[in-house]
């Protein structure tokens, strides 16, 4: 079938989204910053945003590695 590797890549991406979701829920959902008064919510959000960004960067790096591995032949052509 044409583009079999692309179907596989989509499937891997889907698995990574689900695994990434698990990480987000298990890490971010349990963070609760207190002791800064009115700044609690802001600091809480900044930390959560930071972790989310790190996870997104890791996700992109993994996808990039997988892309090179799956499409090695095509890209080198």
């Amino acid at each position: 079938m044409k583009g079999t590797q692309i179907f596989f890549y989509i499937f891997v991406m889907w698995l990574l989204i689900i695994a990434g979701g698990g990480l987000v829920v298990s890490i971010i959902a349990h963070i609760s910053i207190q002791g800064f008064g009115k700044l609690d919510n802001l600091i809480d959000s900044i930390i959560k945003a930071g972790i989310a960004l790190v996870l997104v960067v890791i996700w992109i790096l993994i996808m990039s590695k997988i892309k090179n591995w799956i499409f090695h032949k095509q890209i080198s052509h």
């Binding site: 044409k2 989509i10 991406m13 959902a29 959000s45 959560k48």
Partner: protein, 331 residues
């Protein structure tokens, strides 16, 4: 109530489909008369195609969503209508006069503000199997981010005759099914016009295209899809249904390593064979795109490439539907 919804669903679907189906030929005539045409580079014989088709897409969406609003008024429908219209205006401005680098994403981000101002969102991000996470402030950033990303993702896949409208037809009907599975019936109803508008437009956009959606059409479709994902609380599911387009953007960005418009590409990722089939470019400086990867196994006609993309869209749609069922399961 369910019967009411079914009847209204049929009515707004018909309004969306018939409006676009009926007015697009007139739009083609008007655009051609005003010489608002562009060359279709994938045709052997020089062919000029009318552009943009955004106005007929917007009229179809407005007619059907406002009909729905008359029966079931809600802030969610208002948010869909206003955000989609603003995204259309950004795209239309870009169709008429090429907008500068960051203006378009910023203007699209601003189009998302009505969702926030109308409070048509729930700051919980829901994931399959693991539950949801409450991110009140962060979610506002996500809304601002999601509309330009979805708009540009659809815009980036508008590369061949019929692909953007055909792809959106599949993705939006999948989104409607997913919304029903997660019991968000009102938003499922509001999502129906997107699928039917895309389907009606596909009639004129398929190979050989009589009209191109242009930035106004692609951004309108993408922004409405993004808004539906937010107001329907199905952000992750909606992203999964769009995976082939996401991959296209991802491959493109990871090969050019910066945010640029397709028109700024110096080396074309796709070239033509003598019999005018599409063939992957051997130029190493050309960006890697979804179409280039599809063509890596050998030349194909424009129509064949489109059908491979539709098969990928159907596969992603199936994954999105599976994910919706997984939303009910907790581990």
């Amino acid at each position: 109530m369910m019967l009411d919804r079914t009847i209204i669903g049929i009515l707004i679907s018909a309004v969306a489909f018939v409006t676009v189906y009926a007015i697009t030929p007139s739009l083609i005539k008007i655009l051609t008369k005003r010489k608002m045409v562009v060359k279709d580079y994938n045709k052997e014989v020089a062919t000029m195609v009318a552009r943009p088709g955004g106005p007929s897409i917007l009229v179809g969406i407005l007619a059907s969503e406002l009909t729905l609003y008359a029966f079931f008024p809600s802030n969610e429908i208002l948010a869909i209508v206003i955000t989609t219209t603003l995204a259309f205006l950004v795209g239309f401005a870009d169709d008429r006069k090429v907008l500068g680098g960051w203006f378009k994403p910023l203007a699209l981000a601003a189009s998302a503000l009505p969702i926030i101002l109308l409070g048509a969102y729930n700051p919980h991000l829901a994931f399959p199997l693991f539950g949801s996470v409450k991110i009140p402030e962060l979610y506002l950033g996500l809304i601002i981010f999601i509309i330009p990303v979805m708009g540009n993702t659809i815009n980036s896949i508008d590369v061949l005759n019929g692909v953007a409208s055909g792809f959106m037809t599949i993705a939006s009907f999948a989104l409607t099914i997913c919304l029903v599975i997660v019991h968000h019936y009102d938003i499922a109803l509001a999502s129906l016009p997107l699928g039917f508008v895309s389907l009606a437009f596909y009639k004129y956009h398929k190979v050989p295209s009589k009209i191109f959606p242009g930035d106004s059409g692609a951004l309108t479709l993408g922004a409405m899809y993004g808004t539906l994902s937010v107001v329907g609380h199905v952000e992750i599911i909606a992203a999964i249904a769009l995976l082939p387009a996401v991959i296209n953007s991802f491959l493109f960005l990871s090969s050019v390593k910066r945010i640029i418009e397709h028109r700024q590409i110096k080396a074309n990722p796709v070239v033509h064979t003598e019999d005018f089939k599409l063939m992957a470019s051997t130029d190493k400086s050309a960006p890697v795109t979804l179409v280039r990867l599809i063509l890596a196994n050998g030349p194909l006609t424009e129509k064949q490439v489109g059908f491979v993309i539709f098969r990928l869209a159907l596969f992603s749609a199936a994954l999105a539907i599976i994910t919706s069922f997984m939303m009910e399961i907790r581990i």
